[in-house]
Amino acid sequence: MTKTKVLLVGESWVSAATHYKGFDQFSSVTFHLGAEPLVTALRDSPFELTYMTSHDAAEKFPFTSEGLAEYGAVILSDVGANTLLLPPAVWMQGKPMPNRLKLIRDWTQQGGGLMMIGGYLSFQGIDGRARWRRTPVEDALPVTCLPYDDRIEVPEGFVPEIVGADDHPVLRGLGRDWPLLLGANEVEARTDPAVELLARLPASEGGHPLLVIGRYGKGRTMAWMSDIGPHWVPDAFTKWEGFSKLWINSLSWLTASS
């Protein structure tokens, strides 16, 4: 059986730390990958994941619809709109380049599966820097972004409230007792009749959408407002038996039309 190809964009960062010890300081630089729990979850699944890191995405994310044709789904996770809007050719040389946010939107409309996963550089993100609000990608998503920093930090954890039916293809086999999550991006679900709210934050945390699915043209779209792994998604969640099921269910539903 040939596997369905999924393009995951983001989930990586370079950290430059300056350590101040009294009078002195020194620096260290480290590189991090955030999608390892998802990579593990999809290892023996019907999906073949292409993991495109944030720094690669600027130039390697396809500039044409042909470049996306091989994928059944595109997942944007913890990568800001600027990374795709401002490749070096635009930013450094002032050359016009294709707008890849429109490319993603149009590809979805023609039958692609688009998912955004939450994080500090997803939806509107920390300090509002992810900046997906009022972009062509937001047009395709089943949720809309707030105009400002949209993080909901819940250090004590919250239990997701499952709203969708037990036999919904995305929720099948997951039960209603999900482990704790420590945060999510606040978004608003679109009122479109094709949009379904499957899970939300508890009322004590505002009752905001946590997992939403929708349709865009011939394509399917999904938004998961928490993260893939720490810190918003603790180890107990990634080790939960439902974790890989959640992602496989989601990707199965997302790619059903392609």
């Binding site: 010890k21 009294g22 009078f23 600027a58 500090y120």
Partner: protein
């Protein structure tokens, strides 16, 4: 075991981190301390510990020998010479200020106990930023320092070995846990090397005037101090006995000790 009064300075840092994700970036700041294990171990061994983190040491580390008098042992761990030598009064306002490394040296000479514990800002340190080699405190320490970046990074772990018997190592039996790095030092001619690692001295002790001094080439905390070392059954006994030996300041106790 008699109780020693210990002044521990260093073992803290502020980290300012920029996380770059593709085009975007954001910054976070954190404050960290490496004192938990050593302070707990010394207290369990019956000693009293006063801890001054790096950012407070600038102002709060004692300025004269009298202010050090309440202590038996000064423990410097991951605090650079600059932190104690260059106060804002001197650096920003060009005023003359006491050299606290000279103060520590003079206090040891009068009978105080001193130990420097290794780290990125101990001895010569990372990029030479520890910078103790050209200070008065170098007189009191039982080692010579390289002057330049003296780190030996051993990510695969190195295990120090004991070279003889000494009160500091009484009952500290069996193989030592591994360390993930250390400062390369050279023992002074009149110093005693109690432990070594590869071909370098690891634990060195000596006398200075009426006082005692020691150099421990690796760290008492992460990351050079491995989790195995920090959880080692003899961790507390070792540090407790080290400060016990260093803090022998009364003449009576010292002469009794020297007869054993």
């Amino acid at each position: 075991m008699p109780s020693r009064k210990i002044l521990l300075a260093g073992e803290s840092w502020v980290t300012y981190k920029v996380e770059a994700k593709g085009f975007s970036s954001y910054a976070t700041s954190t404050y960290g301390e490496g004192q938990a294990e050593i302070v707990a171990a010394l207290k369990t061994a019956g000693h009293e510990v006063t801890f001054i983190p790096n950012h407070l040491a600038v102002n709060d580390f004692p300025w004269n020998v009298e202010a050090l008098a309440p202590y038996d042992v000064v423990m410097l761990s991951d605090i650079s010479a600059d932190t104690l030598q260059i106060h804002p009064d001197c650096f920003d306002r060009c005023l003359r200020t006491p050299d606290r490394l000279r103060v520590i040296r003079d206090w040891v000479k009068l009978g105080g106990g001193l130990v420097m514990v290794g780290g990125y800002l101990s001895f010569s340190g990372l990029e030479g930023k520890g910078h103790y080699q050209a200070t008065p405190l170098a007189d009191a320490l039982p080692v010579e320092m390289l002057g330049y970046d003296d780190r030996i990074e051993t990510p695969e772990g190195v295990t120090p070995v004991v070279g003889g018997t000494h009160a500091i190592l009484n009952g500290v039996q069996g193989d030592w846990p591994h360390f993930l790095g250390y400062n390369r030092l050279k023992a002074k001619a009149d110093a005693q090397v109690l432990m070594s690692v590869e071909n370098d001295p690891f634990l060195i002790v000596g006398n200075f005037g009426r006082g005692r001094a020691a150099a421990f080439a690796s760290d008492c905390s992460a990351h050079w101090g491995s989790p195995e070392f920090l959880a080692w059954e003899h961790y507390g006994r070792f540090w407790g006995q080290l400060v016990d030996w260093l803090g022998v300041s009364s003449t009576a106790e010292k002469s009794a000790d020297q007869q054993t």
